[in-house]
């Protein structure tokens, strides 16, 4: 039973557009920040950027980006010092965050405000750090998008969020807020974008001058940059798939997925828990995906099939999750030896396996190679544990190597949920029972 596409979009609009009261509150906070900044703004110029400045913010995410624009003559050290001083003076409640450079996050009336230092440059080609481009984005969106298009940006952001591909962070590998704006600018409207996405197949390049990882779209203010460089093939595929389903079966489900599945089988999911090596999210998630991939490959070499890899980062720990085809390894495992024309390697292989206690069959000659069927068997939990103890060096786990040396636990998700905190349990349950929430009947 599908709803009418127009009424779904009307409802989404109503939910994502900030109310008059919320707008008034956010504007009051903005005025208050600028009032407090004014006496301090002797070596920089404060300017509002981001989705509030562009009028594309979601009612659920009021957040102010206040940039402190310095002359290009300022030194990087002095800028970092100044943003700390200013933040301390302006906010009662604040903390230091890190992107390419440190910045200050503070709160007024529960509205979060990022205080970000940047250089004032005349064009993006002169920029000295990534954030120097932001003021050009703000101007571009305000000059190029109509009110209807800004409404469609809000709808698109909510769509991306609902299907799980919103955010350029390494954790998500999805679409940034600015990417949403450029997509609406390029395709005119939300529905037109979705219709066009139906023609996308594999990697898609919409005029960027290089080969993209998944999707290439030049930044209108800096065409050599790919606006969607962060998007993975999986995120792009998810968007294409969801677009097709939404056009045929429009529903609020795409924007606000319903809760968890009641029955989830956790016993195919192998969990590794260890310490958290980095406090900066993007660095951490880069390491997480690298380490997960390395462990998946090693598990495959050991005879296990891993269907999917997931992870959860807590404040001081990280949980890896591996979805396995089987808890127990197959009893027999085909091991490929060297090609028959490499005689020295062949002799070494044959001598080793010819009377090895694990040899079930062989060595024999298959199509061009020596082969042996090896008796393996064993529990994936034990194999991963042994890998992390005996083969840690070869695993190339980056920053996780030190954490794992300090300590780790390996177990099945069934047991893990008893000892993990709520957030981690939620991740494990949704990983084990993963299903695109918008396909639910």
């Amino acid at each position: 039973m599908s709803a009418d596409i127009g009424s779904v979009l009307k409802e989404v609009e109503a939910r994502v557009t900030p109310s008059e009261e919320l707008v008034a509150r956010v504007m009051r906070v903005r005025d208050e920040v600028f009032r407090r900044l004014q006496p301090l703004a002797v070596d920089f110029r404060p300017e509002l950027e981001g989705s509030v400045a562009k009028g594309t913010w979601l009612a659920t995410d009021p957040e102010l980006d206040v940039f402190m624009i310095f002359p290009t003559s300022a030194s990087e050290d002095s800028m970092v010092n100044r943003v700390m001083e200013v933040g301390k003076a302006v906010f009662d409640k604040w903390e230091v965050s890190y992107a390419e450079h440190p910045y200050v996050r503070g709160w007024i009336d529960d509205v979060p405000i990022d205080l970000v230092p940047c250089y004032g440059v005349n064009s993006p080609s002169e920029m000295r750090s990534a954030v120097d481009r932001t003021p050009f984005h703000t101007r571009f969106v305000n000059q190029s998008l109509s009110q209807e298009q800004k409404r469609d940006v809000r709808i698109l952001k909510a769509f991306f969020k609902g299907i799980g591909v919103y955010g350029a962070e390494i954790r998500v590998r999805g679409f940034s807020g600015y990417a949403s704006e450029v997509l609406i600018y390029r395709f005119g409207s939300f529905l037109n974008l979705l219709k066009n996405a139906q023609k996308w197949k594999g990697k898609v390049n919409l005029g960027w001058n290089c080969e993209p990882d998944a999707l290439g779209i030049p930044d209108p203010v800096d065409p050599s940059r790919n606006v969607t460089a962060s998007v993975s093939i999986r995120s792009l595929s998810t968007f294409v798939a969801a677009s097709g389903f939404f056009l045929r079966r429009p529903s609020l489900r795409f924007f606000w997925p319903s809760g968890e599945k009641a029955n989830v089988r956790l016993d195919q999911v192998l969990v590794l828990r260890t310490g958290r090596p980095s406090s900066i999210d993007d660095i951490l998630w880069g390491e997480i995906w690298k380490a997960a991939d390395s462990m998946r490959k090693q598990l495959a070499k050991e005879g296990f099939t891993v269907f999917d890899v997931g992870a959860h980062a807590g404040p001081d720990y990280v949980c890896f999750a591996f979805y396995l085809s089987s808890k127990m390894r197959a009893t027999a495992y085909l091991m490929e030896g060297p090609p028959v024309n490499l005689i020295e390697d062949s002799i070494k292989f044959v001598d080793k396996w010819s009377s090895h206690e694990q040899t079930l069959r062989g060595p024999w000659v298959g199509d061009g190679r020596w082969l042996v069927v090896r008796a393996l068997g064993g529990d994936a939990k034990d194999v991963l544990e042994a890998m992390l103890k005996k083969e840690l060096k070869q695993l190339a786990l980056g920053d996780f190597e030190r954490q794992i040396k300090r300590g780790f636990q390996v177990g099945w998700a069934t047991d893990a949920i008893e000892s993990c905190d709520e957030e981690c349990v939620r991740m494990l349950r949704s990983f084990a029972g993963l299903k695109e929430p918008w396909v639910r009947p």
Copy 2:
């Protein structure tokens, strides 16, 4: 502990060279056949061909090939009639065999004699049936090979036999007797051939004018023909591997493999037994490999990994053997759905699996495709049985389709050896414990 290569070859020569008594007996039989044929040879000319005529026969295989050479004006029907009449008149004990055409096999003094009709042509280019080429082969070998080389042909044939690649039949897919002679002619000696084979990598073409399946060597009497067309990649690889091992560790083991392994695990081998559809070996084995390959593919689709396929043909039954990685199917199985840009297929897939009782995880979007983890499990025996009952038509089993409809048994080799005859049990044991016999320490 390796023996000296020269003394090994001396011992092989002593064993494969027919004794004076045996030669005298075979020659007496030859004279007797020709004596009996003479009064009948009014429309054909009898001529001795094959390994006895060429002096390359093994002491273990005394066998005479007597060709009845007809003028090209003779009709095929009349030739077939004549060989039957002549065979009946000449032999006390005889039977009809079939190659491209029927021929008669008879025995005198326990020496088998093949009576084969062919056309007498002036050159292989004029030949009308495959056997018309044989007299040219006999002449070529006798004109081109020295006595030492004929000795090396015997050694090479014994080597091919020992490592299991002797014979051009579809069952073996190995080297024919004539291929052995051409190889010695090409490389001068047995040891020089083995040394040269060390340089062979992947497919090997030694001057044939087309791309060979595995090995291409032009027939000296008919260069457009590949002398080793029957050789599979596996047989070629086995020869290359065994050559390298023999040169480094010469031993009689390569020529006369020792007996069975004591301990063989039979429980990874799934056995199917059904009727034998054809009486002609080459046709039967073509069907066997085709059917085995088809069943292997279907088992893979069902989530089973088949490491190797074997078969045994009894007088009225055929046994297929599948070496499996696991008797039980993995509990979870990753099923690939359609690419996300095919929206109609995607909707069909998602609707089917979204609330299917076997769905463990998904449907979700992976890299470009819909995915579902399906609960499978189950015993390979039951799955193969169900396949043969419910999906017989799709399996494309050729002549075996009718046999299987009539009846079949599926079971593990452990049970099968209790109900099979000795020859079949020997095949199952050697299939289950397969190991190149010449690598034994």
